[in-house]
């Protein structure tokens, strides 16, 4: 028997038969993990299985590569219920769950990504400042999956100041002066990605989403022959309408 116990974040749940569900969660030490939840289709457990729910879980399988089942799942926070009144936050949860399910292999540890996803969920529940956290989370997702961006110094001059562009080919930053001659071919780097303490200006979130979309699409989705989840486009439209970009 193989077993695991620890914190988890619900990604998706599919009904299995009349009463049960197959739940996929993100865990720190087993990455994306799936298992059967007996009674998971019933009203008592269904709320726990909503995407974004924070859980304490115990999982068991007869063999390492078997589906397994969750012996115990308990809520460790208010989960999706806290977001039901924020349309963009709901869309963000759907997008995050979809992209994690698309790009993460099963049962590969990603403790940093788990921690970052927890921070993002806390930010989603906390208030309207979360779009910047989501952009940073996407940069972290790229790094965790092997496509880290070099945003700390200019690839041309080595300076760490006035970073304003990113090369769409190398993913490395360029300073405003060094990048100026190639500006039309470079992606704009919003200051908050190079310096966490930098204040947010209008257009920074949109620039951040454009930057991460390029690398997510090219490095994570293209090899899978998939597009970024449609929920991401919807999210950007919602944020734009609400003037949160």
């Amino acid at each position: 028997m193989r077993s695991w116990t620890g914190p988890a974040i619900a990604l998706s749940a599919r009904r299995h038969g009349e009463n049960d569900a197959v739940l996929e969660v993100l865990t720190p030490d087993r990455g994306r993990l799936a298992g059967l939840v007996y009674g998971g289709a019933g009203s008592r457990k269904r709320a726990l299985l909503e995407p974004g729910s924070r859980l304490d879980a115990a999982w068991t399988a007869r063999a390492e590569d078997a589906l397994g089942w969750f012996e115990r799942i308990e809520a460790s926070g208010p989960g999706a219920a806290a977001l039901l009144d924020d349309p963009a936050a709901l869309t963000a949860v759907q997008y995050v769950a979809a992209v994690l399910r698309d790009v993460l292999p099963e049962r590969q540890a990603h403790p940093a990504l788990f921690a970052a996803t927890g921070v993002l969920l806390d930010a989603l529940a906390a208030g309207p400042e979360w779009p910047a956290v989501l952009v940073r989370w996407e940069v972290g997702l790229l790094a965790e999956t092997g496509f880290g961006l070099g945003l700390s110094e200019c690839a041309l001059t080595g300076t760490t100041r006035d970073l304003a562009y990113v090369s769409p080919r190398t993913g490395r930053a360029a300073s405003a002066a060094a990048g100026a001659p190639y500006a039309d071919r470079l992606l704009r780097l919003p200051p908050f990605l190079a310096d966490p303490a930098a204040p947010l200006a209008s257009g920074d979130i949109a620039d951040g989403f454009a930057l991460t979309a390029h690398f997510l699409a090219a490095h994570l989705m293209a090899p899978l022959r998939r597009d970024l989840p449609e929920a991401r486009d919807r999210l950007i439209i919602q944020l734009g309408r609400a003037q949160r970009m």
């Binding site: 990604l11 219920a81 869309t91 989840p229």
Partner: protein
Amino acid sequence: MRRARTSAGPELERLVELLGKLPGLGPRSARRAALHLLKKRDALMRPLGEATLAAADKVKTCSVCGNLDVTDPCGICTDTVRDGAVLCVVAEIGDLWALERSGAFAGRYHVLGGLLNALDGIRPDDLRIGALVSRVQAGGVTEVVLALSATVEGQTTAHYIADLLADLDVTVTRLAQGVPVGGELDHLDDGTLLTALRSRRAM
């Protein structure tokens, strides 16, 4: 060694195979159901076959609301006693039937045919959202009730529709969320308690 006979013929195998595709039935329960039907050929099996054929031939999807009925538009859409000014949006026909069973709603319906779902790739174009907007734009509707589930998918869809209808001359409402009838606070999950507190009202 004699080979065990596992089949009673292709007809029965086909019946078991088809029954096994019904929701809630697996191969074992499908075999039990097939045996039960064969035991009650005249009382159950033949009437079931006739009823299935008749339903397949006569039941249509209502072109106005997406409900199922033998007429198009359906009985609910053509019922003149119902209040055509109030439109209740539901995800599936099962939800429409649940509301009808309650007898609490006397308006008309609009069935979306699902909910927005990023994981399954269900986009707005896959649902009957455009038809809903057209119905409201056509006039005569003063209130749209979004009777969608209190899930991430349900509420994402509700907010999306509310956004689309925001510029039209119509009141958009949604079902209340909170303590179910017969529910004891001690047994409710944190999320339900949170939404119940948020939706509290004066007595």
